[in-house]
């Protein structure tokens, strides 16, 4: 469904991605792991069309989307949940969800999806009229996910969903991710530093290091990989 082929992305003279290749299959959960500043967010931004790769290509649903503008990539069916949730703090929760549906025109379908989000994420209904900036971090993560789903994506990209949340809440979020994947057949790319958690839900994983994929394997193999255990899983 999503395929990156030898992508090189630069910020001015900074060579941030040095030949990244990865795939996410239909209905698959894949995790992209790595420490600080290794290029995880840059990979996401390249997929979303926020930065243009200098070489290489991004293919989605059989179509080359490299160089397309961000709105067109949302139209193609990719929606991100950004790092740190990024609520519109002064908009109400409901307005935040409506913004998620910005590219859609099917009023009836949007209304139906709002109801659906209320079921999956009750906080979107109980706090519908409240300014999103006043919610707790965990609640905001729920709203951020609901908002992304309002675009009716085929692929959801989540940038560090566990950041700043308590372990219990992270579990809740990850359970929701699994449920969405099972129920809707949604493909999900989880970008994480929390490798343990991410690999517990993913079928495969990629490890980035200074802009390069250094390991690519199934989740089980990664969890048992000694190199991984030492560097990313906190097992000596």
């Amino acid at each position: 469904m999503l395929q990156l082929n030898d992508v090189h992305t630069w910020y001015g003279s900074v060579h941030a991605l040095r030949g990244v290749s990865l795939t996410v299959g239909e209905g698959e959960i894949v995790s992209l792991l790595g420490g600080n500043a290794c290029g995880k967010s840059t990979t996401m931004k390249t997929i979303l069309g926020w930065v243009k790769p200098r070489s290489g290509e991004v293919i989605f649903g059989g179509q080359r989307i490299t160089g397309k503008r961000p709105p067109q990539i949302v139209d193609a069916g990719i929606a991100p949940v950004l790092e740190r949730r990024r609520m519109f703090p002064q908009l109400t929760v409901r307005e935040n969800l409506m913004m998620g549906a910005w590219r859609r025109r099917d009023t009836a379908g949007i209304a139906k999806d709002i109801d659906k989000m209320a079921e999956i994420f009750p906080v979107t209904a109980s706090r519908a009229g409240q300014a999103a900036g006043t919610l707790s971090g965990g609640e905001q993560q729920m709203v951020a996910m609901a908002r992304a789903l309002m675009a009716r994506p085929k692929l959801l990209i989540m940038d560090e969903p566990s950041m700043g949340l308590s372990p219990k809440f992270v579990r809740t979020i990850f359970d929701l991710i699994i449920e969405l994947n099972r129920r809707e057949g949604l493909s999900i790319l989880v970008v994480e530093q929390n490798a343990n958690m991410a690999l517990s839900i993913a079928s495969r994983g990629y490890v980035l290091q200074t802009g390069e994929v250094v390991i690519a394997d199934t989740a089980d193999a990664l969890l048992n990989n000694p190199q991984m255990q030492k560097a990313y899983l906190g097992i000596a």
Binding site: P71, R86, F88, P89, M98, M99, W102
Partner: protein, 296 residues
């Protein structure tokens, strides 16, 4: 007394409109424009030309100002801001100063330096028919100015609060990257916002041009400064702040004329604003309504 209050509010409603345009632009783009006064002047002349040469209808004059200054605003955003998005703020500032100079020079070239006025026979219907409200008489013109200003402000509020595009503009103001993630064309939002804010300046221009029946190339200079000041007093990114500050300045100015020579009115206005800032350095409505509390 009541009459003076009406005069003050009329004057103030124009300041408010101008300040509101400035505030909307600043609130969304986080950029200051120094050409707002000149956009105001262009609005005034557009109305003047249409009224004197095409048809003497105030509505048509306003429409002319709306169209001209909306397009002018869009052009300015593309030249001064979009193309310089990654440049230091000062670069954009400089380009808006350039715009203000070019617009003033163009007006000088086309209309000359002398003050123009709409011929009496064309405007007397508006300016001298009065209606009675309680004890006082108010001219149709004054009523129209006040009415149009209030109408535009109310419409602006409804637009931002309830419309789809208005919500997207607020969202973009609060976090333009998050808006981009939803597929919002952020560049287009910036252009529309600048155009919209400029249009409000243009409407203010027609209104004040007709109210005083004076049109001259530098008419926007003092007004631009006052709009900027009202926006600062209001709290910079606060729409209610800009309106309240604009109205207050208008009222203070009109009443001050009772006590001091009228040529000091601008001075009084600025002294008043300075006094407010001493009491409330963050402005009347400290944190804005377009933007979040999240500073950047």
């Amino acid at each position: 007394m009541f009459e003076q209050l009406i005069n003050g509010l009329t004057q103030g409603s124009i300041y408010a409109l101008l300040a509101l345009g400035f505030t909307i632009i600043f609130g969304v783009l986080r950029m200051v424009t120094f050409a707002h006064g000149e956009v105001f002047m262009v609005g005034a002349y557009s109305g003047f030309v249409v009224f004197t040469h095409l048809q003497d209808s105030l509505v048509l004059a306003i429409v002319a100002a709306v169209v001209t200054t909306f397009l002018l605003g869009a052009l300015m955003e593309i030249v001064a801001f979009r193309r310089l998005r990654d440049a230091p703020h000062f670069s954009s500032l400089l380009v808006t100063i350039g715009f203000s100079v070019v617009l003033t020079q163009l007006a000088l070239l086309i209309f000359g330096a002398e003050v123009e006025a709409i011929p009496m026979r064309q405007i007397e219907g508006l300016a001298f028919s009065e209606i009675r409200i309680g004890e006082v008489y108010v001219s149709y013109l004054q009523l129209s100015v006040l009415g149009v200003a209030i109408l535009i402000m109310a419409a602006t509020f409804l637009f931002f609060k309830y419309s789809r595009l208005g919500t997207a503009i607020r969202a973009t103001a609060q976090d333009h990257e998050a808006a981009m993630a939803m597929g919002v064309d952020v560049n287009r939002i910036f252009t529309v916002t600048f155009a919209f804010g400029s249009m409000m300046g243009g409407i203010a221009g027609v209104l004040i041009g007709f109210y005083y029946n004076l049109f001259y190339p530098t008419m926007g200079v003092m007004l631009g400064l006052k709009a900027f000041s009202a926006a600062v007093i209001g709290g910079l990114a606060s729409m209610p702040g800009a309106i309240v500050a604009g109205l207050m300045i208008g009222v203070v100015e009109v009443f001050s004329v009772d006590f001091v020579n009228s040529s000091f009115r601008h001075l009084i206005a600025f002294v008043f604003m300075f006094a407010i800032l001493l009491i409330r350095p963050q402005g009347l409505f400290g944190s804005g309504q377009l933007r979040g509390a999240r500073g950047d």
